[in-house]
């Protein structure tokens, strides 16, 4: 265990490297740092921003609009030149974005939109609606358009959870031979998805598939299916996390919808640079980036939320 003390310290310092105070600051605020998707998004934005000459700070609001408010205030107080924000709620984030904008700090929204236009300089979002439709189509195809299935929902108060389940059902409800027999929220959590899938498999033992609102829940479902000794249950996720891409290659999970987190993060930094130089991003405020369907045939092309070839 002796080796871990210095390691933890090292990690601690790694978190605050490159604090060259002469560089302009970009505050990057993401929902969480322990979810691989948001982690990749924050890291990609920070790495690219540092590459083009900025100083960065990455904070997480944990989907708490109040904490987001405080982080925006902190960004204003520390004289950030721009804020890149993956917001904590379409309605509850508007006032925070407005406050930063009124203080002269441009806000660039990534991943999720807000229910207001003309405040943020850009809203670059992954198309969750299109993404959920393509993964639902693959789910239907893999089950042979036939059988009973269960759904694992994300945190039900979360906008993306609602958009995704709506997208799934636009596709799946048109197929009369495919029937949803149960749906439970596992709050995006792997261990909760594991337990709830185990329990749902008890009341619905011969389901053809499990469609999950994100990747961590798909991984939990896959572990439960494996522990129940079941085979041929089609599981799909949403996000395109490296763990799920690996599980797709090994055949435990059928497909996922990859949100191009890295592309979106870099695009936001590019637009920050253009905006700071010219006073405009030169693009429409809302920019929708399509999701990619990842299946066994193309899984090798993706690494850490990015298409590598």
């Amino acid at each position: 265990m002796r080796a871990r003390g210095p390691l933890a310290l090292l990690l601690l310092f790694a978190g605050c490297h490159r604090t060259d105070l002469s560089r302009p600051l970009i505050a990057i605020i993401v929902p969480s740092q322990d979810n691989p998707y948001f982690k990749a998004e924050g890291d990609a934005a920070a790495a690219y921003a540092q590459e083009v000459g900025f100083r960065t700070r990455v904070d997480a609001h944990n989907d708490d609009a109040y904490r987001q408010d405080n982080l925006i205030d902190a960004a204003i107080a520390s004289g950030a030149k721009a804020i890149i924000l993956d917001n904590a709620g379409a309605d509850s984030s508007i006032s925070a974005v407005r406050r930063a904008t009124n203080s002269g700090i441009p806000v660039f929204l990534i991943d999720r939109e807000i229910q207001a236009t003309g405040i943020a300089k850009a809203q670059i979002i992954a198309d969750n609606h299109q993404g959920s439709r393509i993964v639902a189509e693959e789910f239907a195809r893999a089950t042979g358009h036939h059988g009973e299935y269960v759904e694992l929902l994300g945190r039900e108060s979360d906008t993306n959870a609602q958009i995704r389940t709506a997208g799934f059902h636009e596709v799946l409800d048109k197929i009369p031979t495919l029937k949803r027999v149960a749906a439970q929220s596992a709050n995006w959590s792997q261990s909760e998805a594991f337990q709830k899938t185990e329990t749902m498999l008890q009341s619905h033992g011969d389901i053809a598939g499990i469609i999950a609102g994100n990747d961590t829940m798909a991984l939990g479902a896959a572990a439960a299916v494996k522990s129940a000794g079941k085979r041929n249950i089609v599981i799909t996720g949403f996000d395109g996390s490296p763990d799920v891409v690996a599980a797709i290659q090994s055949g435990e999970i059928a497909a996922t919808s990859l949100q191009p987190a890295v592309v979106i993060a870099r695009l936001a930094v590019d637009e920050v640079v253009t905006f700071l130089h010219t006073g405009s991003t030169g693009k429409p405020e809302k920019q929708v980036i399509l999701c990619d369907l990842v299946t066994r045939t193309n899984a090798a092309d993706y690494r850490n939320f990015e298409k590598i070839r």
């Binding site: 002796r2 322990d34 008890q202 991984l219």
Partner: protein, 352 residues
């Protein structure tokens, strides 16, 4: 006393019997509620009352029951341990780290992972015990602090990432949470083994008596010569050990360690302890009660999932059950106090 009892009138005797019955029912309410829930879900949900489902249900219960068993001693001694959920997260992460980084000072494999995880958790438990019994920090504050410290440490260990594919690196690690003995899952054996030890220690050993004595009246316990700080420290160490065990079980079941694992588990454990009739003020309660409390919460959770009830209602129902349990507990205490002279009149032992 027999002559006094024989002079009671018939109506007195009937009222006496009714009051005693009410008390017996109140005292065993946790097990009654559990039986009621089991019957209810068996009728409403097909496949609920099958061996397979009860085995899976017990496996789910084991997570909060193991935490609740550890928590019982802490609460009985007048403390509280808010850090166990974070410790489950930290324990799993330390195990994941040592499985994927076998170059540490300990030899690689499942043994090193278990030892490392439990050792780190015991260290935090020792910190809890020291803060509470030596530094004089209130248990709520001390363990709230270590809740954050342990969670932050878990996140630092992997920089927020998940340690994936643990079973591939150490196949035996998966056995911890996934294997069966006589058709019963390993975590359930672990739960019952811990329960047996804990129930024995609580009721049959001097240490158990000391825990109750400290929770009942710390000053009196100290004057009676009980080494209060040492007993306190052991309760926090045991609770932390239970936290680490839960972390190991979850990491083994998922074959992956995630730093956010165990968030708000401490509240589930406290709820189970309280449901089981243990007083948050300390000095009164039992390990058996906590086990039953954990089963009540677990049966409710899984049963509602099988019925297809929405998550939102599940949360509301859980809250209602907890509040009702404590309200009934207060009612029982008052009823007992009011009936005490009456009960003593007919049976001198009833008040003991």
């Amino acid at each position: 006393m027999n002559s006094v009892a024989s002079t009671l009138t018939t109506s007195d005797r009937l009222a006496n019997r009714g009051a005693r019955l009410a008390l017996i029912l109140l005292r065993s309410r946790a097990i009654l509620v559990l039986a009621l829930l089991l019957i209810l879900f068996s009728i409403l949900a097909p496949n609920f009352f099958t061996a397979n489902n009860l085995s899976i249900l017990s496996k789910h219960v084991a997570i909060s029951a193991i935490l609740a068993i550890g928590m019982t001693f802490v609460i009985l001694a007048g403390g509280i341990d808010l850090s166990v959920g974070s410790l489950a997260g930290l324990g799993g992460m330390v195990a994941g780290y040592s499985i994927l980084h076998p170059l540490g000072p300990l030899p690689a494999g499942i043994f090193a992972a278990i030892v490392a995880a439990l050792a780190v958790c015991l260290l935090v438990g020792a910190l809890n015990g020291w803060l509470v019994s030596r530094a004089g920090v209130a248990p709520f504050i001390a363990t709230l602090g270590t809740l954050y410290i342990a969670r932050g440490a878990a996140l630092l260990l992997s920089d927020g990432k998940t340690f994936p594919n643990l079973a591939a690196a150490s196949p035996s690690f998966a056995a911890l949470g996934q294997s069966f003995l006589l058709h019963i899952p390993a975590p359930v054996w672990l739960m019952f083994a811990l329960y047996a030890v804990a129930a024995f220690v609580a009721s049959k050993t001097p240490f158990g008596r000391h825990v109750y004595a400290i929770g009942g009246n710390e000053r009196a316990a100290r004057l009676a010569g009980i080494r209060v700080p040492r007993v306190r420290l052991i309760t926090y160490l045991f609770s932390a050990l239970c936290g680490g065990l839960v972390g190991l079980i979850i990491a083994s079941q998922l074959e992956a360690a995630h730093p956010a694992t165990g968030e708000s588990f401490e509240l589930n454990a406290i709820a189970a302890v309280v449901l089981g009739g243990t007083s948050l003020a300390g000095g009164r309660g039992s390990v058996t009660g906590s086990l039953i409390g954990a089963f009540v919460i677990g049966v409710l959770a899984d049963g509602l999932v099988m019925l297809g009830v929405s998550e939102f209602w599940q949360i509301v129902i859980k809250g209602v059950v907890i509040v009702l349990a404590v309200a009934i507990d207060q009612f029982q205490t008052r009823l007992q106090a009011r009936l005490l002279p009456f009960l003593l009149r007919s049976n001198p032992e009833a008040g003991a």
